[in-house]
Amino acid sequence: MAFLPNIGKAERHMLRFLGLEKLDDLFEDIPEEVRQRCCLDQVPEAVPEVVLWRYLNKLAAQNRAEPYRRFVGGGLYAHYVPAAVDFIAARTEFVTSYTPYQAEVSQGLLQALFEYQSLIAELFDMEVVNASLYDGATAVGEAIRMALRVSKRKKVIVPKLMPPHRRRVLQAYTTALDCKIVEIGYDNRGLLDLAELEQEVDDATAAVYVENPTCLGAFEEQIFEISDIAHKKDALLIAYVDPISLAIVEPPGAYDADIAVGEGQPLGLHLGFGGALLGIFACKRKYLMKMPGRLIGATVDVEGRRAFCMTLQTREQHIRRERATSNICTNESLSAITAAAYLALLGPQGLRRVCEAVLANTAYLARRLNTLPGVTAPAFEGVCYFREIPARFDGWLAREIREMCIKRGIDPGLDLGTWFEGFERILLACTTEVHQKEDLDRLVSVLAELVR
């Protein structure tokens, strides 16, 4: 009972104070038959920490966690997390506090979240940013819901090349809405088919949703054109972008995105088996009152000191209830603080260096893969890839390649056949700055042995 301080003496004292005899008396308001049926057999008995710790280590050891022989991306990326970021994210004051309902005792948390909003605003070049959503995928869902709300239109355009794990979230978020989601194909570079887009965007179009880089890793070079196409019909442009890449490529603000979303995990968050992500959500100021999620604002206290507090809460569920802009309550504050710490630590120089390393590694990997017999990398040509490289194998299915690699202790990337029909021969390999040249060479040489 390491966490129950009121056993023994204290328990007796409190029961006596309440005129009760035993703990069971506290549950007399529960119908007898419900209580009787209650059985906890599926919950194991308590385990001492020393024993549990051993078991947890055993489980953890059954997972391959080192990134050096893993080339898997697909939306989450194994960037290096500096120790200082882990340190900050572990400060128990941030970890064990909750939503800062009492601003006066939560200034540190509030300031950190305000800084997060500010940092993302700079990075994205957008006017307003909320204090986090669950993850990139749900941010997409919220963005599209918001666009439908704002525009009062019913058609949404999305790329056909959208990872199913994100696409299915979008699907769920729009299930109950009276809207139509139209998918646009891709050109021979794997980018959005502009002609098709032009055709589809019309006066009923609420939003054009575009990913940059695409889920195949290519920067969407036509982003300005896409923006024009959307805006010409007064459709909103929603951009899903990679925050890291914004140190070198144009931010959503530059191409006049109305809403910009993204997955913040690369900003100093561990992969965590895909958990505790960070849904980034930014938009133009004019949509402020329609946006989902919590907002932190700067203000002063009664003595005129700078202070921070939650603001514009009337958009939120605890006030607006069924008419709220979203149902979100608990969000991913700690992830937001972590991302703020990461951005503050790296600064513009550091972030640029990450980009340089990633770009270079990606290009290098592409080149090397392309030298293998029967391998085309990138599978789509003529564009700039960031982190991810689609590689086509003439003689093999990507699934087979992956299985064979796994047996050799290497995870070479994703089998795109599981994402898109017709992509069964394409492997999506991924690299970041954690890989050294030797790691990339090793991957290539393992593949070389397989395909030769």
């Binding site: 506090s97 993850d135 206290d301």
Partner: protein, 514 residues
């Protein structure tokens, strides 16, 4: 009364600490690689290369660390003091849970890496699914929803799907929700396309059975309720309620935010619940992270299992192998990009295993014990009273109303809350549930020692005395906090609103610094 003072560092914003050329971390760029592939300028087409400057602050590691350490010290948390935020179950998180989630074997794995290489993680999830099913008394579990509200949304989509499969979705448009419900309930129902129909509470704070009967119909998709409800009262007619809803063909959704009151003593499944969510960050000791991440797994009846989000973690006994089951054609799809907040799952798993069956049950009992103890010690204070049915036992939380103090002395629940902060204690939840005027919703949790409960009662007693004798003292509180009372109106007013550093700079230029 202990003298308390929160730290104050007057810490600048990051940009105010910045100086050109500083950096806290410069990742390497391999010259050998660059030489082979070319520079950024060569690789990224000019057209899309960022043109605008990137105005991130420039700091060294030491500066960044100090900044955030100072901010942390200006943040009240469970590990510094009692945090009886009603409805939030701010219990203590075992440090072993934090340590476990930080094990590289859990922390550094990719959700899309090959299943063979994450068997340990899948096993933990599988075990947790089983355990939660056991606690719920409902067989099907999805760990995916990243928070309670996301669980509600997933649940509502399942309800929708259920009726879709029956061809009733166009008819079953109404979701019944008690007026005492948390805001996420109606918001989630609305997001899933339901029309919210409010069920009024009776004077005893419980769902009015007659009103319920009068409201249900063949349009009823279901009811969303939490039990004990947000007043901390157990819906003793729960079996009638679920029966009434079932009789018209509706489903019962259980908001598990208050499960800490009854876990091990009663299972939602045994009350007639069809679907529920857990808040692992409330009931199962995962920390709240300053607002998140949380985790809101759902549990459903056999009948609803096929609609669960994909993937579900499954176990292939023959091959002794865990896997992600995506092959669920009737699934509602996904409510999170991957499998939910896995680290939170690890923490909850650790908590549950450390507590064990008996510990969970004892925890619930102690949560209820602490709540009733504190309720009885504070309801007697002049000007405060229990919101509803004062004779009834509370469960894990209780709601005081300060209407009398407000009427007599102009001291509001909010004032009292602010004054509590001066004593190194966190305030209760204020003004919720909405059906109670001047509400103070107190949830002490089982991890607060009796001595702290006593001092909470004494502090409240002192404050009430102050409110009667010198109300201004209370209305001007707090005094001992990092900043004093914060101007929320200014923050919200369009003219003075500043949501980012950019805004603040602009404002500063206009009207001097804040």
């Amino acid at each position: 009364m202990k003298s308390f003072q929160q730290a104050r560092w007057e810490e600048p914003l990051l940009w105010e600490l910045s100086l050109e050329g500083r950096s806290g971390c410069l990742p390497p760029v391999d010259e050998r690689v660059i030489r082979e592939v070319g520079s950024v300028e060569e690789l990224v087409p000019d057209k899309i290369r960022r043109k605008s400057s990137l105005d991130l602050p420039e700091l060294t590691e030491n500066m960044v660390v100090r900044h955030f350490v100072r901010l942390s010290q200006m943040t009240f948390c469970v590990d510094t003091g009692m945090y009886p935020l009603g409805s939030c179950t701010m219990k203590y998180t075992p440090k072993a849970a934090e340590a476990a989630a930080a094990l590289p074997g859990f922390r550094d794995i990719h959700p899309l890496q090959h299943e063979d290489t994450v068997q340990g993680a899948l096993r933990l999830m599988y075990e947790l699914q089983q355990i939660l099913a056991g606690i719920a008394g409902l067989p099907g579990v999805s760990l995916q929803p990243p928070a309670g509200a996301a669980g509600e949304f997933a649940g509502c989509l399942i309800i929708r799907k259920y009726f879709e499969e029956r061809g009733e979705v166009d008819r079953r448009t109404e979701m019944l929700i008690p007026d005492s419900a948390h805001g996420t309930n109606p918001a989630s129902a609305a997001m899933a396309g339901f029309e919210v129909v409010v069920i009024p509470s009776g004077s005893d704070g419980l769902i009015d059975l007659e009103a319920l009967k009068a409201t249900v119909s063949e349009r009823t998709a279901g009811i969303m309720l939490t039990n004990p409800n947000t007043l901390g009262l157990f819906e003793k007619n729960i079996l009638d309620i679920t029966r009434i809803v079932h009789e018209v063909g509706g489903l019962v959704y259980y908001d598990g935010a208050n499960l800490n009151a009854i876990m091990g003593w009663a299972r939602p499944g045994d009350m007639g619940v069809d679907i529920m969510h857990f808040n692992l960050h409330k009931t199962f000791g995962a920390p709240h992270g300053g607002g998140g991440p949380g985790s809101g797994p759902i549990a459903v009846s056999k009948e609803l299992e096929e609609y669960l989000p994909v993937p579900v973690v499954a176990y292939d006994e023959e091959r002794d192998r865990y896997y992600l089951d995506y092959n669920r054609p009737k699934s509602i799809g996904k409510v999170h990009g991957f499998f939910g907040n896995f680290p939170v799952l690890v923490k909850a798993y650790v908590y549950i295993r450390l507590m064990g069956r008996g510990g969970l049950k004892r925890a619930a009992a102690h949560a209820v014990l602490a709540s009733n103890y504190l309720a009885r010690r504070t309801e007697v204070l002049r000007g405060l009273k229990l919101s509803h049915a004062p004779h009834l036992l509370r469960k894990h939380e209780f709601v005081l109303t300060a209407t009398e103090l407000k009427a007599q002395r102009g001291v509001t629940a909010g004032d009292i809350a602010k004054r509590i902060l001066d004593f190194g204690l966190h305030a209760p939840t204020m003004y919720f549930p909405l059906i109670v005027k001047e509400a103070l919703m107190v949830e002490p949790t089982e991890t607060e020692p009796l001595e702290t409960l006593d001092s909470y009662a004494e502090v409240l007693s002192q404050i009430v005395n102050e409110a009667w004798s010198s109300p201004e003292q209370v209305k001007r509180a707090p005094y001992a906090t990092t900043v004093r009372r914060v101007d929320e109106v200014r923050a919200a007013r369009p003219k003075t609103r500043a949501l980012t550093w950019r805004d603040l700079k602009r404002l500063k230029e206009k009207e001097g610094s804040i």
